[in-house]
């Protein structure tokens, strides 16, 4: 039986694919931004760029990619270094605290970006 990639259950494989796909989105997005910045930027052209619907959608996609990418990466870091093996019985609560901190910050950033771009 084949397991679907789109199923909500998190596997190592889906994490791995999301890492790669989101990296691709971010790379394209920042190349685009860099190209804009290389040309002369003023408020009008910058505003004009972000007023276009495709750019708003692209920005939202980049924000979501950044959040997903950072979450998977930082989740790996916390489960590598903030463990009961390394920190003793307190490891679980320290890890949980850091993960809650990271995820709330990331959700906050995404909402913030949506507010800025879609206002």
């Amino acid at each position: 039986m084949a397991t679907s990639i789109i199923s909500l259950r998190r596997t190592g494989l889906s994490d791995w694919l999301i890492q790669r796909a989101s990296a691709l989105v971010l790379l394209t997005y920042f190349i685009l931004i860099a190209c804009q910045l290389l040309g002369s930027v003023d408020y009008i052209s910058w505003r004009g760029l972000f007023d276009q619907t495709w750019m708003k959608i692209f920005t939202l996609l980049a924000a979501l990619s950044l959040a997903a990418h950072a979450w998977i990466g930082l989740w790996s870091v916390t489960t590598d270094y903030l463990t009961e093996r390394l920190l003793g019985p307190k490891g679980k609560s320290i890890r949980l605290l850091c993960q809650i901190g990271t995820s709330s910050a990331l959700i906050g950033y995404v909402i913030w970006i949506i507010v800025i771009v879609w206002r």
Partner: protein, 235 residues
């Protein structure tokens, strides 16, 4: 004269591990590191403890950390490892030390056990043997040669941090050995046990494992094959 610094720890008498220095007369010969250990045990201190058996790179029992690099003491010549006349010998990193250079390999073996390192095939066995074509047999080359010395897994940072959840390079090389075997029919079951975020995917391709394997095997490549199999299975 070779300056040898040995990791010593006897939990019954020592509060903490310490390094002990020995000046060993090698007579200018390019000995193997195991020979140096035997010399120390015979002529300096009979209580120095380490594992060894075959003394020819076959049994995998004398995996050690020599001047910072894991390897088999019996097939590592001094000329390969000694720098500035000094040799620092420590136990394999990341595993609990039982005494001196002897580590507790339970975590390592538990990961090996997890991948079910035996042929699974419920179809009735033929009278003589399950045949393979030369091509099918060739798929196992570079995999079956592993002697489970643990040099690779104990040089892998991912295994240091999660030795209970990340299978590690040695276990994964063997996992692929059975996934690649044309006679084994448990492929689906094997893959489903490997798809979680830890077992395989904690490998970040650092390739320390490839760098140290005394048998010249390539666990990173095998891990790549497993990842491809998982990917194909999911799409």
């Amino acid at each position: 004269m070779l300056q040898v610094s040995l990791y010593r720890y006897n939990p019954e008498t020592d509060d903490a591990p310490f390094m002990q220095d020995f000046a060993v007369e090698t007579g200018g010969r390019d000995l193997m590191v195991l020979d140096v250990l035997e010399l120390i045990k015979a002529e300096h201190d009979g209580s120095v403890t380490y594992r060894r058996s075959c003394r020819e790179g076959v049994c995998g029992s004398d995996g050690l950390n020599m001047n910072g690099k894991n390897g088999l003491a019996c097939i590592t010549p001094l000329s390969d490892t000694v720098k500035h006349g000094r040799l620092v010998i420590r136990p394999l990193p990341g595993l609990p030390v039982i005494r001196d250079l002897v580590v507790d390999m339970s975590l390592f073996y538990a990961q090996y056990e997890k991948i079910q390192p035996y042929l699974q095939n419920p179809t009735p066995a033929p009278t003589i043997e399950r045949l393979q074509s030369p091509e099918e047999r060739a798929q196992l080359d570079g995999l079956y040669e592993c002697i489970l010395c643990a040099c690779c897994s104990t040089s892998c940072p991912s295994f240091w941090w999660n030795p209970d959840r990340f299978v590690g390079p040695a276990g994964l090389l063997q996992a692929y050995r059975f996934l690649a075997d044309s006679r084994d029919t448990a492929t689906e079951d094997r893959l489903s046990k490997l798809e979680d975020p830890f077992s395989v995917f904690r490998c970040h391709g650092i390739q320390n494992c490839v760098n140290v394997c005394p048998k010249g095997l390539n666990p990173t490549k095998a891990i790549g094959h497993i990842r491809t199999m998982l990917l194909n299975r999911a799409t």
